[in-house]
Subunit: 316 residues, 2 copies
């Protein structure tokens, strides 16, 4: 199995109450790819500038990530984001965004990228997402992330893009905004009526919730939720959502695209675990040296933290 | 086993996008007692005015709630709260609060109330909480709720009250505010260093998290979390937190005060279920006609929505 992701490949400048970095590797496709690389073959697609050098390529390749669809544009500058977080790490404050080479991006995927079994369209302009989607006809499972900006300025394009994927993965506030429905369960149902058969609502430190069309209980709609993994040291939340998506889609692709409810729930677990490692340090620092055993250990800890049993009937 | 709760016994005026009520039975001790009444003997303590009539007493007594510690003050007015909710039902906007007879309240508990095995101090002025705590020396397990107001204007009293209980149950934002620590896991640990051996962080629609001093895994601190039960119809969130606490403490008291981790987790489940019924309709409307079978059914549904399994090792 193989996974293609399109999205920003970037440099980030980030300041949090726990430190700062002036220029580090970042971007949605980078965080996604690193997380997914523990489970499957992953291929990020996107443009970078001259400033994207050997060091950055090597960091990706050390995790087995295929970088031949990372397109280096001569004379260009890579996407750049500057942001900061205050006391409440759930809220990112954007101080600067420079699209650089992303402003002129016209996706032309290699044969290998087009042949992906699984496709993830990270948060970029929705028309670009649709262009990539159209080139990946073989993908049996596809997902899409977006943001409030596109709901505000390109809603029709975004709705068209959403209709073409199997799974929407966005923040819960964005699901509400997209559908104009304040109740999350209703909002998720409204999204599924647009096309996707699954909706993942990202909830920051509160974790993530999964809505699917029909569950093992035969109900109309199935619901599953996990809390964020509790951490005493959260240093930089940047990329948590992308790491979650990388763990989620990477695990699904790596297990042969098994989309039954039990496997989707495990994927939620791996997404949660990858997001938790991501936020422990700045940028890609923690995930780039992560070991598979650490992932499985934390997955099992998460499982223990969420399980409970009814009393036997004799006592109930 | 028997459970005493002290807190507001009130009339509420509430407006939400789904309707409004001009004057309905409410207050923390009322919502708590109704929820707890499905599991144990519960006795609310607090003052009401002349306006609190037969209809209100009958509603409580129909659920088997002992009302002899509800003190009727001649010539007085019951506690009154007016509030509204907009698109985001997580945020209550207070429009009016009239303390009424609560302004002069001096707790004098009956022998029966003092003999409780379990005690819950709902959100009232912390010196009042301490007076009640002092009168209930027999209680083997005690809990306390509070709010931002008391952290702001009576922090020392509140800290003293917290030191005297086993379990703090407050909103996660209040745990952060109380401790000055933005990281919830660290904040919960700081609370446990003040005295309590358990901390429940209420998270609105995101559910609730339980921190305990030492878990079954032998770790330093144990963590458990449940999402809010997903509902397509949420009409009035008022009293959700009190219903949660009523389900939680009621279940623990009803199962003989068994405080092991497995039973605490079940109690979290019942708290979640009672809160979910509470918000489906206005005020006490839904819970006052609830049946025990409905509770157990939703408890089991919640369990199914939160369980997941690792892949067998041969495939993992």
């Amino acid at each position: 199995m193989a996974l293609t992701v399109v999205g920003s490949i970037a440099f980030d400048a980030v300041k949090t109450p726990f430190g700062e970095r002036e220029r580090m590797l970042g971007g949605a496709a980078v965080h996604f790819s690193l997380a997914a690389s523990f489970f499957t073959e992953v291929r990020p697609v996107g443009p970078v500038g001259d400033d994207f050098g050997t060091e950055q390529f090597e960091l990706l390749e050390a995790r087995g990530i295929a970088t031949s669809d990372v397109e280096r544009v001569p004379g260009g500058q890579s996407f750049f984001w500057r942001g900061h977080y205050d006391f409440d790490l759930n809220v990112a404050h954007t101080d600067d965004t420079q699209l650089g080479v992303f402003g002129e991006f016209e996706p032309k995927l290699s044969d290998a990228a087009q042949a992906a079994d699984t496709l993830f369209l990270a948060n970029i302009q929705p028309d670009l997402q649709r262009q990539v989607r159209a080139q990946c006809g073989a993908a049996g499972f596809s997902g899409l992330d977006s943001m409030n900006l596109w709901i505000e300025i390109a809603k029709d394009s975004l709705l068209a893009a959403i209709a073409e994927v199997d799974c929407l993965v966005v923040n819960d506030a964005e699901i509400r905004m997209l559908t104009g429905e304040s109740n999350l369960a209703r909002a998720a149902r409204a999204v599924m009526e647009m096309g996707p058969r699954a909706v993942v609502a990202k909830r920051g430190e509160y974790g993530a919730a999964l809505f699917t069309e029909a569950g093992p209980d035969g109900g109309e709609q199935s619901f599953f939720a996990l809390p964020g993994f509790p951490l005493e040291d959260v240093r930089d939340p940047t990329g948590a959502g992308d790491s979650f998506a990388g763990g989620f889609f990477g695990y699904l692709d790596g297990t042969g695209g098994d989309l039954d409810e039990a496997n989707l729930r495990r994927a939620m677990g791996y997404g949660t675990v990858l997001a938790s490692f991501n936020v422990e340090e700045f940028g890609t620092e923690r995930v780039s040296r992560l070991q598979r055993e650490e992932i499985d250990e934390r997955f099992e800890a998460l499982r223990r933290m969420t399980q409970f049993e009814a009393l036997p009937a004799s006592r109930g």
